[in-house]
């Protein structure tokens, strides 16, 4: 600030004072009404103390103390009121059969009831609870035109017919918001190699600007499949079952142009589950 400024120099605060809650005595807030109710009850109790005989005075005093204590513990601030409100809502919900599961205060055993993954073994064999084993496959199918749809479905029929009896096979497709456009990266790469030939640079820049200016959202789909290897005594037995079933399945999947890839890395398998569990924008 210049010396000619009509304003005084800023001063640091002498002490840091406690900032009052903005919602103090805000009549749209629940905790204000609870506070007024507590004051009302308190005043009534004080009146009763004043007019009652000695023994009753003690009783009213005790009640007033309990009420003050409850108010201080559960309703004295906006946060405490919100917390108490949530607690009541969830208590009622629980009584009505509506449950809340907080994964951070549940034990690992409890959480495994929902995601029963025990271990991911080498080669992508996933061990689930109760000695069940399975594999996760990512597929990259093509777009099918109506002309070849019947032929494509026949190949898929062969694929499903080839699944061993009493073995669970799941296919899953999951929509994901595609934030990136590969063409933009490619155009940047080309621009950096274009040199100083102006027409080419101009053309590439125009294309880049046009494409990047289009912010319409692209929803793409991810494709997964899983095959159960059934209940097995241990990992070695699961591997034997894997050898007996998976190569044939892969062959049929390739024949159906699904381009399968067994997920073998820990990270890949967890990522595939994250795609299913995650929120809308990945």
């Amino acid at each position: 600030m210049s010396a000619l400024s009509p304003y005084s120099q800023p001063k640091p605060p002498i002490t840091v004072t406690k900032v009052k809650n903005d919602r103090f005595l805000d009549f749209t807030a629940l905790h204000t009404w609870i506070m007024l109710l507590a004051i009302g009850i308190g005043l009534y109790l004080f009146k009763m103390i004043a007019v009652s005989p000695n023994i009753d005075k003690l009783m009213y005093l005790g009640v007033a103390f309990v009420i003050a204590n409850i108010w201080y513990k559960f309703f004295s601030t906006d946060e405490k009121v919100q917390f108490s409100k949530d607690r009541v809502i969830f208590f009622i919900s629980d009584k009505q059969g509506k449950h809340v599961i907080n994964s951070f205060d549940s034990t690992a055993e409890d959480l495994e009831k929902f995601i029963p993954i025990k271990k991911i073994h080498s080669g992508g064999i996933v061990e689930y609870s109760r000695n069940e084993y399975g594999i996760v496959i990512e597929t990259y199918p093509n777009r099918i035109s109506d002309d070849v749809r019947e032929h494509h479905e026949k190949k898929l029929e062969k694929l499903v017919n080839g699944i061993p009896a009493n073995t669970a096979f799941k296919t899953l497709s999951c929509s994901v918001l595609e934030p990136k456009k590969p063409v933009l990266n490619f155009l940047l790469e080309l621009s950096s190699k274009a040199g100083d030939f102006k027409p080419k640079n101009k053309h590439l820049t125009d294309m880049y600007l046009q494409i990047s200016g289009d912010d319409s959202k692209v929803i793409s789909w991810k494709y997964y499949a899983s095959l159960s290897l059934g209940k097995q005594k241990n990992q070695d037995h699961a591997k034997i079952q894997y050898g007996a079933v998976v190569p044939g399945l892969l062959k049929n999947m390739k024949a159906a142009s699904l381009r399968p890839r067994i997920l073998t890395e820990n990270r890949e398998i967890l990522d595939s589950y994250r795609v299913m569990f995650s929120e809308v924008a990945l």
């Binding site: 509506k98 995601i115 898929l156 017919n161 999951c174 692209v218 809308v280």
Partner: protein
């Protein structure tokens, strides 16, 4: 002395406390190691009609197919994989859709036995109805019996197999968006004559059944033959025609995706463009040819038998300055050359004026009379 006794007395309590703390820490470590804690949302609220994750994501499940007695299928006979594509065309912003199809193939002998039992039961019902209704047969039972025979025939001749299928659709997102998406999905499924149920009270079970876990909810299972099971597998991708590099074709209006094709992966590199007069065929071609030059380092020879002034094709060659050239040939042309010269390497031809053209990026032969070429 009393202090020492006091200290000795406090030892068991201290050990217990330390053991308890060690136990808690071990539990914490087990929690951190568990895959479930890494994957599950921090908070799941389970209601009869929906789930809510982390206090913001609304989750609804739809179960498709009609649960029926043994012998009849849960999906329409004419079911096609087009249904899945129609669902995938729903590109809703703010909503995630999961289409899950679980299949378990049943043993042929088991299916035959079940069909036999179903046939017996239907006949028994028909006979008892015949007694009470003066021999008037129940049409529903008649149809069911025909269905059982038809299914048995397929199993007997080994033309189809029987599956238990669970087709579950999971919709996640904001509450309003989820309901909007759900109404679209239900309308598509209903138009394809597929029954849809909302599994009230079993949302979490259905959600977990839909995922790639060894979990299945029996209330979602529906009987289906091989063709129906195949049609419900998600096996076509609307967005598959996009590579990381190649020739940029434009935007797919169905999916909003930018389409780029790596031409080197194509078996055949020929393109036919069809359209009525004035629809923009030449314009599109010139656009693609320019992209070929700049994106794929291709050299282009464009020949046109007519003076198509509406398209301003000459401007394309002029745009490339010294690397573009227009050769007006033909009856009224100003240049004469053998078009086959451009195939000859510049070094073998030397400094021939025609050979210079072979080094160009964009060469246009205008006024070429194709019939005499």
């Amino acid at each position: 002395m009393s202090k020492i006794i006091g200290k000795i007395k406090s030892i068991p309590g201290a050990i217990r406390r330390k053991l308890r703390r060690a136990d808690e820490r071990a539990q914490d470590e087990a929690w951190k190691r568990s895959y479930a804690s890494q994957l599950l949302p921090s908070r799941m609220e389970i209601y009869d009609t929906h789930l809510r994750f982390d206090e913001r994501t609304y989750v609804r499940c739809l179960v498709c197919g009609l649960r029926s007695v043994t012998g009849s299928e849960g999906y329409p006979r004419e079911l096609s994989s087009k249904v899945i594509e129609r669902l995938q065309e729903l590109s809703f912003e703010g909503v995630k859709i999961i289409l899950s199809n679980g299949l378990i193939q049943l043993q042929g002998t088991d299916t035959k036995e079940e069909l036999q039992t179903a046939s017996y039961n239907v006949n028994k019902e028909q006979i008892s109805r015949g007694i009470t209704h003066q021999g008037n047969p129940d049409l529903e039972l008649m149809m069911k019996h025909q269905d059982i025979i038809s299914n048995y025939r397929q199993i007997y001749y080994n033309s189809q197999r029987t599956f238990q299928s669970s087709f579950i659709i999971v919709i996640k997102g904001g509450e309003e968006e989820v309901f909007r998406a759900e109404s679209h999905i239900i309308s598509i499924l209903k138009s394809e004559l597929i029954e849809v149920q909302i599994p009230t009270g079993r949302m979490l079970e259905m959600f977990l059944s839909a995922l790639l876990l060894p979990v299945s909810e029996s209330k979602a299972w529906v009987e289906v033959r091989s063709d129906g099971a195949a049609a419900l597998c998600a096996a076509s991708n609307l967005n598959s025609r996009t590579d990381e590099k190649g020739l940029y074709f434009g935007k797919d209006l169905l999916t909003n995706n930018e389409v780029m094709l790596d031409l080197s992966t194509l078996a055949s590199r020929q393109l036919v463009m069809c359209g009525s007069t004035g629809s923009g065929k030449t314009f599109t071609f010139l656009l693609l040819l320019m992209r070929l030059v700049d994106m794929c380092n291709a050299r282009v020879i464009y020949t046109t038998p007519k003076a198509d002034e509406g398209t301003k094709y000459r401007a394309v060659a002029e745009f490339y300055q010294e690397k573009g050239c227009i050769a007006d040939i033909g009856l009224n042309g100003t240049e004469y050359l053998n078009p086959l010269d451009i195939l000859i390497d510049i070094e073998t031809v030397g400094k021939s004026p025609y050979a210079v053209k072979a080094g160009l990026s964009f060469l246009i032969f205008a006024g070429l009379n194709i019939s005499t070429f």
